[in-house]
Structure formats: C-alpha cells, structure tokens
C-alpha cells in the first residue's frame, strides 16, 4: 500500500489529454475564465496546504464538535440575553448577512470544482464548497433559533430572499462575486481579495470583539470559520500568479475592482460593528485602526508578493477610512425602519471617543448627531415617537454598489451622474463609476431602489415600502435600541410624560 506522501501527489494530479473533444470545449472561456490557456500552463498549479478527503473530514468533524461543545456550554438563549443590546444588534447584522452569502460561496467553489483548470485546483475547490456549506449551516444553526427571543433573528434565513435595500446591495455583490462568475475571476476575487484581503482577518478581529463583549459563542463560531478560510483562501493565489504571468493588466484590474467592491460592504458590516454596536469600554480599537493594522498592511504585502500596484484609487480609500462608515451609520440610523436590526445613538462619551479616533471629519458628523439628538429632545422618547425621528424622503442609492449615496463627506458628497447609452446612472464614487464603465453590459440593466419606486415596481409610501417590498413588520423593522430614552438627552421617559 502506498504511503500518504506517495499517493497524495498522484491523487491530486488526475488530468489527461482529451481525444474526443477539444480542451476549449471542456473548459469554455466563458465559464472557466480568461485568459484562456492550455492546460500545460496550469499543470504546475499547486496549493500551499495539501489535504486528502479523509483528512479533511476528520478535521472538520473535530471542529464541528468543538463548536457544538461551546454552543452547549455558553450558547443557550439565556447566555445571549445577557449580551449588551448594541452588540446583540451587531449579531443580527451578521446573522442575516453571513449564512446565505456563504451559500453563494458553495456555488462559486463548485464552479471551480468543475471548471478550474487543473485537477488539484478542482479538488481544493470541492473542499472549499464543503467549507462554505459549513459556514452556511453553523450560523443558521446558532442564530435562527434566537427568533424565539427576538423576531429580528428571523432574518438569518429571510434577508437574501427580500427586496430590502441592503439585501439588494448584498445580492448585487454576491451574485457577481460568486453565483454568476467564471472560475478564474471567482477564485481571485473571493480567495485572494475577499478572504485573504478581508474576511480572514476580519474574523480574527470579530472574534476579538466578541470576546471583549463576552459573546463566546460568536467568538468560537468565527474562529472556526476562519480556520477554513485560511485554508481555502490559498486556492486563489496560484490562480492569480498564472493570470499575472500571462495578462498582468487584467490581474491588476480584477484586484482593483474587487478590493473596492469588498471595501464597500466590509466597511459597513465591520465598521458599524466596531465603532457603534460594540459598547465603548469593550472596543479594542477603532475601525480605522483595525483597517490600518490588519487589512491595509496585509493587502499591501499581497500586492507586493504578486508584483501588483496599489489600486489607482488608493488615496481615496485612505480618505474613506475616516468617514465612509460614519456617513452610512448616521444615514442608516435616520432610516432605521428600513432595516431589520436596531440602532443606538452615540452619546457624549462615544462621541468624544469618535472625535479622538476620527479628528479629520468628526466636527461635521457631530453636528449631525446633535441635530438627531435634538429631535429626540423635542418629541420626547418612546416607541410612539420613533417615526418622528426618522427620515421620510426617499434615500438614494448607487447604481453600482447599490448602497446609499453616502460617500465623500458631509461637506462634499462625491456622487456623480453619468449618461450611458441614453440612460442616466448615479454612482456614489469615482471607483464605482469606473467599475461600471469597464463592464457596462454586466451592470446596466440592474435597477436600484429609487428607479424601482419611480417606475412603480416598488411602493413610494414608507409603510408600503417597508412591509410590502422590504418584507419588514412593526416587530422586525429597526428602531432606536432605547427608543430615544437616554440619560444624557436629559428627557428620560419618566419625566417626559
């Protein structure tokens, strides 16, 4: 019998020369990706972490048992009920955004498992698909039962099946990244940019935040998922190296495009969690500090490793670290009923901390929070006044990322209008417009929420939009965590009556 070291190299490399069909027919460029190269250019594809199916199953079993043990010990409903309210709402964000996004990763990996250009690549993508199944099932298993205590956790299953504006944005992103993608772009965009660049490190950061917030269940979950990510993220590196060798301009384009697209979603999910939905005394760092220490440095090393340049929008990205997620949070707070989780106003202590961490633009943001606070002071706290402290004009969205037109600063919003083929589009930023113009055929026919309202596809009245189109209910739509009842506002509910 062969030893593991003897048979694994044989089992990894199972390609053969086709005699009945052409190679281009087995691996069409439209679904395998470009540049289309003969297998001779891919035959040295090698993953840095090698595993067999048996080893994979054994490892995953151990990890699943560890998650189960922690769930049984500290993941009960009474443990969750002890968590701080803002953090609980950060969990709702991730409970909705994570599971079915991971499921789209199954589809993307299965495309690599069939249309990847080397057998070792295809084998690793098969493991990657199994990983992503696991990453779908674990958060569903842990989060969805929490709807017994809070109906907003129903969105763990529901989110991607709605036309909620954030679900539209997330679907627009994941449909392109994973579901409708060819194997080469999928593995570069997902493994190299999303996973190596963002989520692998994001999960380390989230685990740290969860630990500080005494949420040991979430800490264990993301740590367990991160160990899978660290392995299957390696698939993309030899793919990128080969594309870089044959078409470096295209490789640079893919990295530039996907780093921006990832940044947009990531800054919202993680930026809001770190800087607003984690209690002040439990924040180990600001989102900007996290980005600089964990994401930016690592990404620059990856670029260097492959001989790639910084994306052309690098200076703009650095500016956005100071402001973008703050613009989004304040906007989302004032339209919180359009989302499925609750928000908290940063009080004086939080705003002092935010000013220290983000001195460049905080004066402008502080004025916004002061105005919102003043509205609560005027109308008084309480659930009945939620909509008196809520926006009523229709917010607007980018035709590329589908996120609110909240880029730039309060002094100068960077939205830009473009007429393309006789139709008018608006983009939140120059990079979003740049991505659109590179592949307009991919994006041009998608309609954002504003155009759906104007065409009559979506209702224009807020109650109908919330219930009929965003699939929210009075129980599930977002509110202020305290219904405006904050000590520091000076109008507590008891005295307001």
């Amino acid at each position: 019998m062969l030893s593991r070291e003897e048979w694994l190299p044989l089992a990894r490399k199972l390609d053969w020369d086709y005699s009945y069909v052409r190679e281009e027919e087995v691996f069409p460029e439209v679904i395998s990706g470009r540049p289309w190269l003969p297998h001779s250019e891919w035959k040295d594809w090698e993953e840095s972490f090698k595993t067999s199916y048996r080893e994979y199953v054994d490892n995953q079993y151990e990890k699943d048992m560890a998650v189960r043990a922690v769930h049984d010990a500290v993941g009960r409903i009474e443990n969750v009920q002890k968590l701080a309210l803002p953090w609980l709402n950060s969990l709702k964000v991730h409970a909705a955004a994570l599971p079915l996004a991971e499921f789209t990763g199954v589809i993307g990996n299965l495309r690599g498992a069939r249309f990847g250009r080397d057998s070792a690549w295809r084998t690793m993508a098969t493991f990657g698909a199994l990983d992503e199944y696991r990453h779908t099932q674990i958060p569903l298993l842990l989060f969805h039962p929490l709807l017994r205590i809070d109906s907003q956790f129903d969105w763990a299953h529901k989110f991607y099946h709605t036309n909620n504006w954030f679900a539209v944005a997330a679907r627009h992103f994941f449909d392109e990244l994973t579901v409708g993608q060819n194997a080469i772009e999928f593995h570069i965009a997902t493994n190299v940019v999303l996973e190596t660049g963002f989520t692998n490190l994001q999960f380390v950061g989230l685990a740290s935040l969860a630990r500080e917030s005494s949420d040991h269940m979430f800490e264990r979950m993301v740590t367990s998922i991160q160990t899978d990510e660290a392995r299957h993220a390696q698939i993309g590196h030899p793919v990128l190296a080969t594309v870089m060798k044959h078409d470096p301009k295209y490789a640079q384009y893919l990295v530039d495009k996907w780093f921006w697209r990832n940044w947009r979603l990531f800054s919202i999910l993680t930026g809001l969690s770190i800087d607003y939905l984690t209690a002040l005394d439990q924040r180990p760092y600001s989102f900007k500090e996290f980005m600089e220490e964990w994401i930016i440095d690592q990404f620059l090393r990856t670029l260097d490793e492959f001989g790639l340049e910084k994306p052309w929008y690098w200076d703009l990205l650095m500016d956005e670290l100071d402001i973008y997620h703050h613009m989004i949070y304040a906007s989302a707070y004032s339209y919180r009923a359009t989302l499925w989780f609750n928000f908290v106003i940063p009080g004086p202590a939080e705003r002092k901390w935010l000013r220290q961490k983000y001195p460049k633009h905080w004066d402008d943001m502080d004025a916004v929070w002061e105005q919102i606070s003043e509205r609560w002071r005027t109308v008084g706290p309480g659930p009945a006044n939620e909509f008196a402290v809520h926006g009523t004009a229709l917010p607007t969205f980018c035709d590329l990322c589908q996120l609110p037109l909240s880029a730039g600063t309060p002094r100068k919003n960077t939205a830009r209008v473009l007429v393309h083929d006789g139709r008018k589009y608006i983009f939140c930023s120059e990079p979003c417009q740049w991505i659109f113009l590179h592949e307009p055929e991919r994006y041009a026919s998608h309609t954002d929420i504003v155009k759906r309202v104007l065409s009559g596809e979506a209702p224009s009245q807020l109650p109908n939009l919330l219930t009929n189109y965003f699939n929210l209910t009075p129980d599930t739509w977002g509110k202020d965590v305290h219904n405006g009842d904050y000590d520091w506002l000076g109008v507590r509910k008891d005295s307001a009556a």
Binding site: M365, A415, I426
Partner: protein, 100 residues
C-alpha cells in the same frame, strides 16, 4: 417615504391638490452637511429657492436649517428666483444646496 413633497413631517397631500401639481421632476438632492443624498420631486413651477427649502425640510432630521443657501447645478450657482423649468433640470439630475 413621502416622495411627493420631500417634507419631513408632511402627510400625503390630498388628491385634489395632487391633481393641480405640475409635472414632477425627480432629482438627486445633496444638502451640504448631510450624510446622504435624497430624492426630491420638484415641480416645473417651483423656484429654486423653494426647491432648496424642500431639500432642507427633507433633511432636517440631520441638518439644521439655514437661511442663506445656494443651489448649484453642473458646477454653476443658480438664480434662486428661477423656476425648475427655466433652470432646465431634467429627471435624475444632481443638484446641490450649499450654505451661504
């Protein structure tokens, strides 16, 4: 989300008043100091001063009202007495309302 008026507190307008309205022009409105762009339905006959007030009202939850504002369109400061029709605003154009 009462997109007919952009007013923060305004209820849906009665049908007879709605029928009297001019052709609405949906515009992307950006008020200086705000964190998000808003959709504003302008009427052809609205003056730009009224349009600026409409945007200020729509954003009043986040931005305190200012008396002195300017409407900027295609990088040009517009005459506040001009109407939307005279200004040549077209559907889904961007307008900015700046302080001072």
């Amino acid at each position: 989300m009462v997109i007919t008026t952009g007013s923060e507190f305004e209820k849906t307008l009665p049908p007879n008043l709605l029928e009297q309205r001019f052709m609405p022009v949906p515009l992307y409105g950006f008020l200086q100091g705000d964190t998000i762009g808003l959709l504003i339905l302008a009427d052809d006959g609205d003056t730009l001063e009224a349009l600026a007030q409409k945007l200020q009202a729509a954003a009043s939850l986040r931005v305190a009202a200012r008396h002195l504002v300017r409407v900027v369109y295609n990088n040009k400061i517009m005459d506040p007495a001009m109407t939307v029709a005279q200004a040549g605003f077209e559907a889904l154009d961007r307008i900015d309302v700046l302080s001072g």
